[in-house]
Amino acid sequence: MSIEDIKQQQEKWENSVQKTLEKHPERKTFEEKRLYTPTDIENLDYIEDIGFPGEYPYTRGVQPTMYRGRLWTMRQYAGFATAEESNKRYKYLLEQGQTGLSCAFDLPTQIGYDSDDPISEGEVGKVGVAIDSLRDMEILFDGIDLSKVSTSMTINAPASVLLAMYIAVAEKQGNPSTSLSGTIQNDILKEYAARGTYIFPPKPSMRLITDIFAYCSKNVPLWNTISISGYHIREAGSTASQEIAFTIADGIAYVKAAIKAGLDVDTFAGRLSFFWNAHNNVLEEVGKFRAARRIWARIMKEKFNAKSSKSMKLRFHTQTAGSMLTAQQPDNNIVRVTLQTVAAVLGGTQSLHTNSRDEALALPTEESVRTALRTQQIVAYESGLADVIDPLAGSYYVEAITDKIEKEALEYIDKIEKMGGAVEAIEAGYIQKEIQDSAYKWQKEVENNDRIIVGVNKFQIEEPPVKNLLRIDASAGELQKEKLAKLRAERDNEAVKISLEELRSACSDENVNLMPVILKCVKTYATLGEICRVMRDVFGEYEPHTNI
């Protein structure tokens, strides 16, 4: 049957549906069409646009066998209070079958302040573990062989410092840096746009990032030097298309900066990784993941002339959407997370964090983290979803929505490029404004009941306050202060001073790669706050664009 025949038949069908609609109107106005048919994908070229797994443009996945070869890495983001406490949680998660570590740092650590800095008051150990010096890092990974696990660290502005500490711990264990695998988030642009843990202005920040690219390509070749993140952009309220558009625009900015710094694209691009959100709309999300892979592959090949296939593959971590969790009837969140897990797996993620049921209320308890991990394991081992590669390909709707998201994202990327790139678009407040508009629209839809959130604006019940929440008391702050005082008394303060002075002059000289210098500092047990203070002195601090 030709496409023209289908079009004719479809028109007939639509006409007959009109009669049904007169009697039984649809529940609401839908954004998507009623039905997708071959007519929606008639311009799609299988080889050009979809292809095969592990082959350009990677729409179907970046590995040739996907989960039939190896399942995704199950990686729960964890960390709270002190290094001692978090070390226990990591060991527990590994015992429970988790296959990679993911470190959450507290806000003072993420913004380069020591625990005893007055600005850290109340925040120490709250949203993650407090790391003040190499000594804390040694405790954090005590008894964990760093050549055997891969570790992801959610650290951005001071990423070099935490990576240096990680390398130093590994060396003490007898593991050379070449044996290490893992990821640092290291994505400052989305910090400016959506997440907020920036320190320095864009220019020195981009230098720190490209210094890491250059250093790791030689010394830590298995390390993912950046995790270009849409996750937080989505959490801040963006749509699916905006999530990948703004993130890929950031990616373009990093590649440009590295090339400008003199690096050959194929020496670093293979270690770039991405980080996406998984929302509840399963098929839209699957389309998003597939579209992102296709866009990135084409940009790397066509715009940046990458030759290595590794440079074109968009590998990504996924986290289920924190913003979709509800404080009401928290057990319902287990179901939401299951749907999000399905979306991530059908979308071909390389690793996954599943949120816990109680995270709209507090950091998760050990028990709820276990359920979240079990959710991944059930999908992996019981659902059959991991048995066939990209099983939704060829669905009229999934291919159509993949195309639609790609098209919308490319329009944004084009617009941002015309503004001069992601840095300029952020400095103009454009990306922030677009995200805010979407967030406000979403909130209005929820409040007008145009968007139903079960348990929040429909199907509510009276419920008692949730018990057994994890509480981080103030003792973490006190403990860290004591540890810092002891450290400052015991270490060779002269060596610290010399290393920090060397850092100061290195910061002023753009031709010096800062990574080896920072590594020297952390080995003298200079604290994170001390190292960042030197960099703050030389680089200054970012002035945010605050508009509503």
């Binding site: 806000l107 850290s120 008051e121 109340g122 709209a360 209320l361 406000y440 409040e447 945010p544 509503i548």
Partner: protein
């Protein structure tokens, strides 16, 4: 009638400002005069802005868990500046069990995840002490 002036503030180091920005816009749409401080404000910063702007309401948002330290501190500083009569409210990821403590410290209401912006708007209208002529 003078517009009710609200400072929407982000104390502490927390960068999650989706809620604060949504609230700021909703309050503005509801006819209030709104000033958003931006993220990473110390309690001192917030008290100073409240004083300079002679705000009627200080609405704080915090998702990092530092609310028990930072919210009361803001209230204290407001009192020191003679602004003890201003309406202080808070929102964010705040466990139910912390709410009595925060209220005792002078935070008049806490809005937790899933709250409607309308609830805050109505609360402000009913509780603000504004020198209305």
């Amino acid at each position: 009638m003078k517009k009710i002036k609200v400072i929407v503030a982000k104390p502490g180091l927390d960068g999650h400002d989706r809620g604060a920005k949504v609230i700021a816009r909703a309050l503005r749409d509801a006819g209030f005069e709104v000033i958003y401080t931006g993220i990473r404000q110390t309690p001192e910063d917030i008290a100073i802005i409240a004083q300079e702007e002679d705000a009627d309401v200080i609405a704080m948002s915090l998702l990092s868990g530092a609310h028990n330290t930072l919210f009361p501190k803001v209230v204290e500083l407001l009192k020191e500046k003679g602004l003890g009569d201003r309406l202080v409210v808070g929102g964010g990821v705040i466990p139910e069990s912390d709410i009595p403590f925060l209220k005792e410290k002078g935070v008049k209401a806490i809005f937790t995840p899933g709250s409607k912006t309308e609830e805050l708007i109505n609360f402000i209208k009913e509780n603000v002490k504004c020198d209305e002529e």
